[in-house]
Symmetry: C2
Subunit: 441 residues, 2 copies
């Protein structure tokens, strides 16, 4: 129903504006159902017409050889310092880098030797630090892809429901692309978050209700003429949007010198990011851009919202929804859509899903800041905290190459560390007072 309504509302698939999907969205060939495999033409749809399963992009990459399509690695390396260097592997037009877009990605992969020493890691430990993105979270990656899909489908308004990072990413990306934006948030959001989302000049609409009410309203709007021409990045553009997370996998491997890491620790909100990182790694192997070898993916949740971790520990294939209660608000999705896929990947690769409680999240944020000078969002505290726990329990091999994701910026979640972070001392402006404080050389 919703699918057909969206299709009808947009009145177009990608084939119509420019003779064939290949020219419009690069190597994206079709949408394919993750459950039944049914293929659908590219368009602003997100659920399979046959079985209502989630749709994802199916690609036709330029053919092969053992080291990938001729010269692909060199073409990537000669590309721009952002995600568009991977345009040949993404659902975007070949000339994407020439269009106004927020150009996220190619963020730092920090070799974290001081953190490694504290954690007892003898191999090499790296932080993939996505706080370096334009609006300081990984959401810029997924939104940038959604912008190109919105253009391909002729949408003129970019929209989403959000309680934080996504609102800013959509506002900024729409502004730069010259699209109208209209973002829906719960009406009682903190003023700081409202300002961050509203400053880009798009419409910001408060909904009287909680986040679930906001989401329900957005689904209604997609099927209504009132929302005609609107691209909801995480609803009717979701199959495109989600692919943005593949770029994390590409960058990590390229930055390691075109090698797969042995172990990755990835945060879980909906679980989409983790599944797309796995997809990205598999593509690099299939294209011969990296050597085929085993890797383990570990998922990280906050204890206060750990339905996937719970299911993993209980040996279940399904995820039982929970009511979130944690400081890691950017991960607080109680009913994660991609939970079952995450469980499958963690088990298949020999990884795990684990969680940490709020005090340990705060401790991990400070540990990362103190050792590497990186101030992470609470989601980064979750991945670092889980990494520490997995090492302590002997479940993550400290002798291997490990990459831990930090997907956001501590400036956005100051409240999490504020109660336990402050001045060492307050002194009078003279040397005696300074000496008394015990801080002298």
């Amino acid at each position: 129903m919703a699918v057909q309504a969206a299709q009808a509302a947009s009145g177009t698939t990608v084939d119509s504006p420019a003779g064939g999907p290949g020219t419009v969205l690069g190597p994206a060939a079709a949408l394919s159902c993750r459950e039944c495999g049914e293929r659908t033409p590219l368009g602003p749809v997100f659920a399979c017409e046959a079985c209502f399963g989630p749709l994802e992009i199916a690609y036709e990459f330029p053919g092969g050889g053992t080291s990938g399509p001729a010269g692909l690695r060199e073409r990537i390396e000669a590309g721009p310092d952002n995600i568009w260097r991977y345009a040949p592997l993404l659902p975007v037009p070949a000339d994407v880098a020439a269009k106004p877009n927020i150009n996220p990605g190619f963020t730092k992969l920090v070799q974290a030797d001081r953190l490694a020493r504290e954690l007892g890691v003898t191999g090499s430990l790296h932080i993939k630090d996505d706080s370096g993105n334009p609006t300081h979270s990984f959401k810029d990656r997924v939104v940038a892809i959604a912008v190109e899909a919105a253009r391909a489908f002729g949408f003129t308004t970019l929209s989403c429901s959000s309680t934080g990072n996504l609102a800013g990413a959509v506002g900024a990306a729409a502004a730069r692309a010259g699209l109208r934006s209209c973002v829906f948030i719960p009406h009682d959001l903190e003023q700081g978050k409202v300002v961050m989302a509203a400053v880009y000049g798009g419409e910001l609409v408060g909904i009287e209700g909680n986040y679930d009410d906001v989401n329900r309203f957005c689904s209604e709007l997609i099927g209504d003429p009132a929302g005609e021409g609107w691209g909801f990045v995480n609803v009717n553009l979701r199959p495109y949007y989600a692919e943005g997370s593949k770029t994390l996998a590409y960058e990590i491997c390229e930055q390691l010198g075109w090698r797969l890491p042995d172990q990755l620790v990835v945060p879980i909100a909906s679980g989409s990011q983790l599944t797309k990182i796995d997809k990205g790694l598999k593509e690099l192997i299939a294209l011969g851009l990296v050597e085929d070898k085993p890797y383990k993916i570990f998922g990280a949740q906050a204890e206060g919202c750990s339905p996937v971790s719970r299911a993993f520990k209980d040996g279940h294939d399904v995820v039982r929804p929970v009511r979130p209660e944690t400081i890691a608000k950017s991960l607080a999705i109680g009913n994660p859509a991609d939970g079952p896929y995450v469980l499958d990947i963690a088990r298949r690769t020999g990884g795990a899903v684990e969680d940490v409680d709020d005090p340990r999240i705060v401790e991990a944020i400070k540990l990362l800041a103190r050792t590497e000078g990186i101030f992470a969002e609470t989601a980064g505290g979750v991945t670092v905290g889980v990494t520490k726990k997995l090492i302590e329990e002997g479940r993550l091999d400290p002798a291997l190459t490990t990459v831990v994701l930090n997907t956001g910026d501590g400036l956005k979640t100051l409240d999490a560390v504020a109660p336990t972070t402050g001045m060492s001392a307050v002194i009078r402006p003279n040397l005696d007072s300074f000496r008394e404080a015990g801080l002298a050389s």
Copy 2:
């Protein structure tokens, strides 16, 4: 006095640890007085022993040819995606990129076509967006250089006085480098800023007094055994620290395809950044890395702290101190040390120094966010606001290539825009309520 004390306190110049400055701090050959030209060996000193004038780095760059030292441009282009690609032109060891440092720089130069249209610019307009640095301000550039100087001089504690951006930059850089840090701030700083500075785990000391009291105390500490082994990035390491701003000039030219811009708009706090950008541009010309042609540098101040703009308009060579009263707190230096040099550069290059009032700063922040998706700190509002004013008054040529600096991140100065930035509407979660709000497609 202070100079000798610092010299004595550190007990070393750069020659001692490793036979010759060239090996320790790259092409830095000596310190040279900007007033009398007297040369001093490299060391943690900042004022001329002969005339008390400010010291700066004198270089001996590897010799020449018309296109710069053989292969320099290629070496730079093959270097890392941060300021260390310019190591051959900075006071840092040749192997600097291999040491743990926060690795700032190579931030985006954004082609701002939508902003250009709004401002009536027919040439090309670019924003150099330093909010992309690790702690989201240009301070990471200068602190990164100071870290290398601190290492060369055997300092084990990194310090500074600060009211904002600098505290975070020092805390993060020291953490990553494995140095102790001790940062001094006024005791009544807002909690958010305290948290941002303290999270990196260094000492953060509140001083009972205002920023002037903090500064005075730091000067006292430099001459005292209590501060032995301490590098104050903006005092006894200032000559090294300040050179970090040259990298803005290098990056802008490289990102323009090794061409000089015609016009630059640069914010003025102490004025140091503007003078170092001029120095960097002149070096690129002298080395033959860019073609020699005229460029104009415009300085930008907030009306509430505009001593240099005032002196420029009055035709004075000296700057009369003022008491700052503006929302642009990162530029609120009432007695800017490099004011006279700024006046000289603005006049010599055919530029100007101009100011804008607080409401226009806020308006400019929003203009930049709305057109380019860049959320700037108040300092970025000052440069964009001054650019607008200069164009309206016909003093900045809209047909030329112009680069405007944004030196910080709007997330750090949310208060500036909060009063005038909010939700478009609050509605009930249904379509009727949405239609009533007049936001439907």
